[in-house]
């Protein structure tokens, strides 16, 4: 029944992960019982609006945060239990591409140094081999070899994101977490970066956890998609299932909100949703979505709908879903 149960052989598995932050204003319920898995070589898309907890999920996976409760498994092992050496070994297999191409590179290090860093930390190769590897990485992400001698500020946003991808690729990881990796980029550059990520997946069978607020991009990149709302997964299904038959009203609203570039076929639906997402400081009782859902019933205000399988590999957390 649980989404996690099916994925016991998965590369990455989150099991009922809860993450709360204590702040001056109260406790932020960033993640509230999130379970999902990613198979080897697979891309899972994680989509949701700001504050839904998708970036927190990324940081938990990267072991930058410790979960309040619940477990993150990588390759079957609980990452919290690992000893120092195992942790370091895992870091080599698990890499991340960050959102902001301007803050994700150390401004005081030459690009070559930034790319060599992972190889030094994990003692891969002698100096000469490392330099060869750096040259290869630069070429692989479409940059000239002389980029190694330059500083990040000499590059455009798109080029910096290529450098960030090269860094993530340096150790040939099994999983790359892409946290809004293209949302800071201009449209004409975005396509270049998405294509690069697609190529790398094809060539190295790397798995992605692809996080974005843009459903159209998530759909394009992912094999399966998880939709998050206020710290919970509300729907998780294969890309085609989700697109053909979205079962959660929030998923439908997200789809309806994608602006359409064809003036000939403007969307007909009225406003997809009213208001803003509630604050994760005090999520509404019952179903998290009840305050904005057009179909809210008495039951939704009292009882929290569990994430249940409604079809093969299609999980939905809604009382009304059939």
């Amino acid at each position: 029944m649980s989404a996690a149960a099916t994925g016991s052989t998965a590369l990455l598995r989150l099991d009922k992960v809860v993450k709360r932050f204590k702040t001056g204003a109260g406790t932020v319920h960033a993640l509230d019982g999130v379970s999902f898995f990613i198979r080897r070589g697979e891309t899972l898309g994680l989509v949701g609006e700001s504050g839904c907890g998708k970036s927190t999920a990324a940081r938990l996976v990267m072991d930058l945060y410790q979960p309040t409760s619940g477990t993150v498994y990588f390759d079957g092992e609980d990452i919290a239990q690992a000893d120092k050496a195992a942790k370091k070994a895992r870091r080599a297999r698990l890499q991340m591409v960050f959102q902001d191409p301007y803050s994700s590179l150390n401004p005081r290090n030459r690009v070559g140094r930034t790319l060599e860093e992972p190889l030094i930390i994990h003692a891969r190769g002698a100096r000469k081999e490392r330099h060869e590897r750096v040259a290869w990485l630069l070429e692989r992400v479409g940059l000239k070899a002389d980029a190694a001698e330059r500083y990040p500020h000499e590059f455009s946003g798109g080029q910096r994101q290529r450098i960030g991808i090269a860094r993530a690729l340096a150790l040939r990881p099994d999983l790359i977490v892409c946290d809004e990796a293209v949302s800071a980029l201009d449209v004409s550059i975005r396509a270049q970066i998405l294509n690069l990520l697609l190529d790398l997946r094809q060539d190295y069978q790397v798995a992605y956890l692809f996080i974005s607020h843009d459903l159209a991009i998530v759909r394009h990149m992912s094999d399966r998609v998880a939709v998050m709302y206020l710290g919970k997964i509300v729907e998780l299904a294969s890309r085609d299932d989700l697109w053909r038959q979205p079962r959660h009203p929030y998923t439908r609203a997200l789809m309806a909100a994608i602006p359409c570039v064809h003036p000939g076929r403007k969307r007909k639906e009225p406003l997809p949703l009213q208001g803003d997402p509630p604050s994760p400081l005090n999520p509404p009782p019952g179903c998290r979505f009840q305050s904005r859902c057009p179909f809210t019933e008495a039951r939704c205000r009292e009882e929290e709908p569990p994430l249940q399988a409604r079809a093969d590999e299609h999980w939905v957390a809604c009382h009304r879903a059939e």
Partner: protein, 357 residues
């Protein structure tokens, strides 16, 4: 009806230590009375500088070097400081991308709108306050009287953007300049704000100049669009025409790279190779030539800057090769995308928001 806003030959240059950056170079555009012009471009294309130039909000090292900005026949560039202050916020208002930084954090939202009203209108504080509540209601803020007493940070992102729209509308401007009004918002909120802008514009008969990088937003609310690239307008025309028959290769490329749902998932996306040239090192000839699939030496793409010329009714383009057929023909489908979009299950919007006029 005469011309409303007419920008002619605008040049706004930035004199940096690295040289002169021609952020806006010979830009001409028109916003018609009651019409919406979208100024589309990527970061650094000069679209925001153009917008700020209209209200003369350009700071050192930037300078407006040449051009005319005629607003209802008056050249805004020739006005004295007093004159332009009378225009700003009063007859021409502006809204920005980040609503939180547009408000003073230590004053309530209501007090700031009162201030804006009293800057241009001789009304008592009490009258102004009544108007504030009315405005907040118009932009769809629930319980407006209470929200007016809130501090900006207490409002959510969408509410803040609504409050900023209310602030901009305070003096019933004739022209509204919206600089990326929805970029900082979540997708579901974005749709609400766009709709609000459109409704208010129709109700009040305002001209709207919308600055955006998002072609989806353009398709949604603009009737005409101008595409900017590296400080120049490369193509301009009615949205329906521009989006279905783009003539400039850059416009085509942009449209193709966002039409992501037309492709099979996982397929390579059409991309525009290369990147925008630095404003400090502009190539000779057409600025797009280096990235252009159609650029040719024979046509003069690498030698001269192409002039702006009509290709269809009200549709002009600055390209030597504009006559060629589009590289990426976009299909206009009759079935209204219903096949792949979500079923229309949601109830109609709360329409009292729109009851403005």
């Amino acid at each position: 009806m005469g011309e409303f806003l007419a920008v002619r030959g605008l040049r706004t240059w930035f004199h940096t230590r690295g040289g002169v950056a021609r952020a806006v170079d010979d830009v001409s555009l028109d916003v018609r009375a009651g019409g919406t012009l979208a100024l589309v471009g990527e970061s650094g294309s000069g679209k925001s500088v153009t917008a700020c130039s209209i209200l003369r909000l350009i700071n050192e090292p930037g300078r407006i070097e040449a051009g005319e900005i005629r607003f209802k026949g008056v050249d805004l560039l020739k006005l004295d400081d007093r004159g332009i202050r009378h225009i700003r916020g009063n007859r021409v208002a502006m809204i920005f991308q980040e609503p939180l930084s547009a408000f003073n954090p230590v004053q309530t939202v209501g007090a700031q709108i009162v201030e804006a009203i009293r800057l241009h209108r001789c009304v008592s504080r009490r009258e102004a306050y009544a108007r504030v509540v009315d405005l907040l209601e118009q932009v769809g803020i629930p319980s407006p009287a209470e929200r007016a007493r809130e501090f900006p940070h207490r409002l959510s992102g969408g509410m803040r953007q609504r409050a900023m729209i209310a602030l901009a509308l305070a003096c019933e401007p004739e022209l509204l300049i919206a600089d990326e009004p929805t970029t900082a918002l979540d997708v579901t909120t974005q749709a609400q704000i766009l709709r609000l802008l459109k409704t208010l514009q129709t109700a009040k008969g305002m001209g709207l100049l919308l600055i955006t990088h998002d072609l989806g937003v353009v398709a949604e609310i603009a009737d005409r669009a101008a595409v900017m690239y590296a400080g120049r307008i490369v193509e301009e025309g009615p949205v329906s025409d521009l989006f279905t028959r783009p003539s400039h290769p850059y416009t085509e490329g942009l449209l193709a790279s966002v039409a992501i749902d037309d492709l099979p998932p996982g397929a390579r996306l059409p991309e525009i190779p290369g990147m925008v040239p630095s404003l400090l090192a502009m190539p000779k000839g057409c600025a797009f030539a280096d990235r252009c699939p159609r650029a040719s030496r024979d046509a003069g793409c690498f030698a001269d800057s192409p002039a702006f010329a009509p290709v269809a009714k009200e549709h002009r383009v600055a390209c030597f090769q504009a006559r060629l057929a589009p590289v990426y023909p976009l299909r206009v489908e009759k079935n209204d995308a219903a096949s792949d979009a979500a079923p229309a299950l949601l109830p109609p919007a709360d329409e009292n928001v729109m009851a403005v006029a």
